[in-house]
């Protein structure tokens, strides 16, 4: 059940209506917990009648793949509840530390097993084969539970914050369960901190504090980003990345730029809808994007892109590694390690490792650059200000190539033509070097699409649209949203692709 589907609207209408008609906070939380699990189950349950029939008769082999996903979610929640209580009741620092180690080991263990087991085993096998040693590699048929990367990070944030004495452990299991399984952010974030969300769970939400108009507008914008823009440009980048060698330079540029548009609109669209959905239920989620493609440098980019992840990595990984409390080399090591692990968080593939490393190196280079140009003149700074945004965006696009590139197969024989990394290098060549690799190209209208999107994005980033919108009376907003929805529905694909970040 995707946010952009009609059935989600029907589901949310029921959840919303019942939620606000319940009087007590406890009843609301139970309702949210049930709704969240129903939402989660919709991703793998298939036909509910068939599922129930198999469950009743114990036909486990016939159950849909992933029917046990909720068990992982519950196990993670239960374990962190116990850890939280354990830390709260521990009499010595050593015991507190032991409890938090249990939490980290269990959460990271779950993540490593489901996400990285096959990757590490296969990579070890490849390495042994490469150095000439005989290797018999056995991978397991493991499927990744939806949202595991997101909810384990949330779980860990709770244990770590309790350990760091930033918050009290929760008394009731229900509160923690609602926090971790809250459906708007369950499968693809934003990664909400226990410190910011649990106080909201504990306090009864008040309808008067809900900014309905802002939430509906945000949901609409998210819908447009995902359903119209991301889905519209996806076939272009898919075709390009499937055969980068067939395209000329213009085609390559459009292919890569459209992928940058696709991933931003896909993920930020999802986040907007998640924030709006939570907002309509009276909860505030973390802001996740702040016009990242207008970042002036790579450090600025990471303050604007997937903010909930970057701040999580900063607070719980980079600082835990020692942060910048050491020599320059020590700081750079921490930066690189954090970004590589951040890359690996996105998926068990060397593509993501390289992507993370590229960002890590760029962050280090930027720090050095800042140090070197500290005393630069005004003119130099002015020139830099002009080229900073396009240069940063160009580098981001280059890194996306490694993020996106997948193995290329021969269309007819389905035989592997190039591995993911070889494909990435081919794309990189088409995107960065002069000359055409092939003859295929896209229509010139694509450039127009990019220009229009860039202008709209720029106007929005300069806060030229928002204030005007807020000044409008409610009835005018309703009418404009109606007109906007009619326009947006034109570009909605009849069948949607899942959100890109669902796979992480």
């Amino acid at each position: 059940m995707l946010f952009v589907e009609f059935r989600f609207l029907a589901f949310f209408l029921v959840v919303f209506s019942v939620y606000w008609s319940l009087r007590t906070n406890t009843a609301r939380k139970w309702w949210l917990l049930g709704a969240s699990h129903f939402f989660y189950a919709c991703f793998f349950i298939g036909d509910p009648a068939v599922f129930w029939d198999h469950l009743r008769h114990g036909q486990w082999a016939k159950m849909p793949a992933g029917w046990w996903f909720p068990a992982v979610l519950w196990a993670s929640t239960t374990m962190d509840y116990i850890v939280g209580r354990g830390i709260g009741g521990a009499s010595t620092e050593a015991r507190r530390k032991a409890w938090v180690v249990v939490s980290l080991a269990a959460n990271l263990g779950v993540l490593c097993f489901f996400k990285y087991f096959n990757f590490f085993v296969a990579s070890a096998g490849d390495f042994l084969a490469w150095i000439g040693l005989p290797a018999s590699v056995h991978t397991l048929n493991i499927i990744l539970p939806y949202g595991v990367s997101f909810y384990t990070f949330q779980s860990m944030s709770y244990s770590i914050d309790v350990y760091r004495k930033r918050m009290e452990p929760v008394r009731r299991f229900l509160d923690l369960a609602v926090f971790i399984s809250f459906f708007p952010q369950l499968v693809a974030g934003p990664i909400v901190r226990a410190m910011t969300f649990l106080p909201q769970v504990l306090e009864k939400r008040v309808w008067a504090s809900v900014e309905v108009r802002a939430c509906l507008t945000l949901f609409f914008l998210g819908f447009v980003k995902k359903a119209c823009v991301s889905e519209f440009v996806a076939p272009f980048s898919d075709q390009f990345f499937a055969a980068p060698g067939d395209f000329d330079r213009y085609g390559a540029i459009i292919g890569v730029l459209f992928y940058a548009v696709q991933i931003y609109c896909d993920f930020s669209g999802y986040t907007d809808m998640a924030i709006a959905t939570a907002g309509l239920l009276g909860y505030q989620l973390t802001v996740n994007f702040d016009f990242p493609y207008f970042a002036k440098n790579i450090t600025d980019f990471w303050r604007r892109w997937h903010i909930s992840l970057s701040t999580w990595l900063r607070d719980y990984l980079y600082i835990s590694l020692g942060g910048n409390r050491g020599s320059k080399l020590f700081t750079y090591r921490n930066l690189l390690l954090t970004m590589v692990l951040g890359g690996l968080w996105h998926g068990a593939s060397w593509n993501f490792v390289i992507w993370g490393a590229m960002h890590g190196v760029a962050l280090i280079v930027h720090r050095e650059w800042q140090r070197l140009t500290e005393k630069a003149g005004v003119w130099f700074r002015r020139v830099l200000a002009v080229i900073a945004v396009p240069l940063t965006f160009y580098w981001i696009c280059v890194t996306w190539i490694f993020f996106r590139a997948a193995p290329i197969y021969d269309k007819d024989t389905k035989a592997l033509e190039a591995t993911g990394l070889q494909a990435a290098l081919q794309v990189l060549q088409a995107f960065t070097l002069p000359g055409d690799l092939g003859k295929r190209t896209f229509g010139y209208e694509c450039l127009g699409v990019i220009v229009v999107l860039a202008i709209l994005h720029w106007l929005n980033s300069r806060r030229l649209i928002g204030p005007q919108w807020r000044r409008l009376p409610d009835w005018a907003c309703a009418a404009l949203l109606g007109v906007g929805t009619a326009g947006a529905l034109l570009f909605v694909p009849v069948k949607y692709k899942a959100f890109i970040y669902f796979q992480f």
Partner: protein
């Protein structure tokens, strides 16, 4: 619903939703006028081709596979030219085209340039509400679900219920039961979803992406291919590619149905929804300043749809489904099954159509 606290007003809430839906539907209806017919294979190509070259045709055929594969405009024009009445005809038949879609497609055809158009020959078939599952959800299926066509489905639902209500008895197992009453409603709902999606133009702008994904030069070449129009670009295609004859089992089945038709004349059934659909098409053609001609292709099916006598007397109807009058149309070597003919049969049928056409007053 949310509790009635300080800021919540149910009246305002409902009013704003009403404004939202009003604006949504009004704007969707407004932009629908500028949207092209969906880029679906065959149907979209024919409409697009008529949009470019519609002015050269004076006669257009429309109907199902029995038109698409069995009416050869080149032979039709040749036969009429030989009889001293030159025509330029176009085959706008489509696989599985029956009312209500037939009426929608006809409207689309009539929207195209048609300076010379004088005759529209329409295959007479009954309204098909229970669409096969394979067709549901396709762009072509979605496209015809507009308000007039939904009204026809509504007429069909009322007729079905009237027939079922006559035999309704919840206690008698041999008569109509509750579940049977529900089935037509389920059919109606299977059209209501596409109607909502179509009214809101869901995904109708996707054709832009489909076009822009191809370079302009290549795009022009692809748009000019018009594969569905056949070699002569007159809209005719041979049935099923290479299949031209029946195998022994098909031949035996056909001959059995043929024998039955020879001895038992076809039953003409009454169907208010089909009557309304046919009348709507007749009116659309008349409104366009052209002459509608209805025809029944040669079939050995035991049930035939024909309009009621009061409607029939205003119409030109040519019934080719009479094996006594048109024996050559029912020869096994001209057939593919009890409702379809092969290319040779199509040629014979087209000549028979041309003969009837030549009889029309100038």
């Amino acid at each position: 619903m949310p509790p009635p606290d300080s800021r919540f007003s149910l009246r305002r809430w409902l009013l704003h939703w009403l404004i939202f839906f009003g604006a949504l539907v009004s704007y969707a209806v407004l932009i629908e006028r500028w949207l092209p017919y969906p880029d679906v294979p065959n149907a979209g190509e024919k409409i697009r081709y008529l949009g470019l070259h519609g002015n050269q045709y004076d006669t257009i055929f429309t109907g199902s596979s029995r038109v698409n594969f069995q009416v050869l405009p080149s032979i039709f024009d040749e036969a009429l030219a030989a009889s001293g009445r030159p025509t330029k005809s176009f085959n706008a038949g489509l696989l599985g085209l029956r009312p209500p879609e037939q009426g929608y497609f006809l409207d689309e055809v009539l929207k195209q340039p048609r300076k010379k158009l004088r005759y529209v020959l329409i295959e007479l078939t009954s309204l098909e509400a229970r669409a096969p599952a394979s067709r549901r959800g396709s762009a072509r299926f979605m496209a015809w679900h507009d308000a007039p066509r939904m009204a026809l489905i509504g007429t069909w639902l009322r007729a079905e219920w009237a027939a079922l209500a006559a035999g309704f008895n919840p206690t008698d197992r041999h008569r109509t039961h509750w579940t049977e009453l529900w089935e037509p409603v389920a059919v109606w709902f299977s059209h209501f979803g596409p109607f909502c999606k179509n009214t809101l133009n869901l995904g109708r702008g996707a054709f832009l992406g489909d076009r822009w994904i191809i370079a302009p030069g290549e795009r022009a070449k692809q748009l000019n291919k018009f594969r569905a129009l056949g070699e002569k670009r007159d809209g005719w295609l041979p049935y099923d590619g290479a299949r031209e004859t029946m195998n022994d089992a098909e031949r035996a089945a056909y001959l059995e149905s043929y024998e039955a038709r020879l001895t038992t004349p076809a039953v003409h059934f009454n169907d208010p929804a089909s009557d309304a659909a046919i009348e709507a098409m007749r009116q659309a053609v008349l409104k366009a300043g052209t002459t509608p001609i209805f025809f029944v292709p040669p079939m050995t099916s035991d049930r035939h749809y024909l309009p009621p006598p009061d409607l029939e007397q205003h119409m030109i109807i040519w019934n080719f489904s009479d094996p006594h009058r048109y024996p050559q149309l029912f020869l096994p070597e001209h057939r593919l099954d009890y409702i379809h003919m092969n290319t040779a049969g199509g040629q014979v049928f087209t000549r028979a159509l041309a003969e009837r056409f030549a009889e029309l007053p100038h």
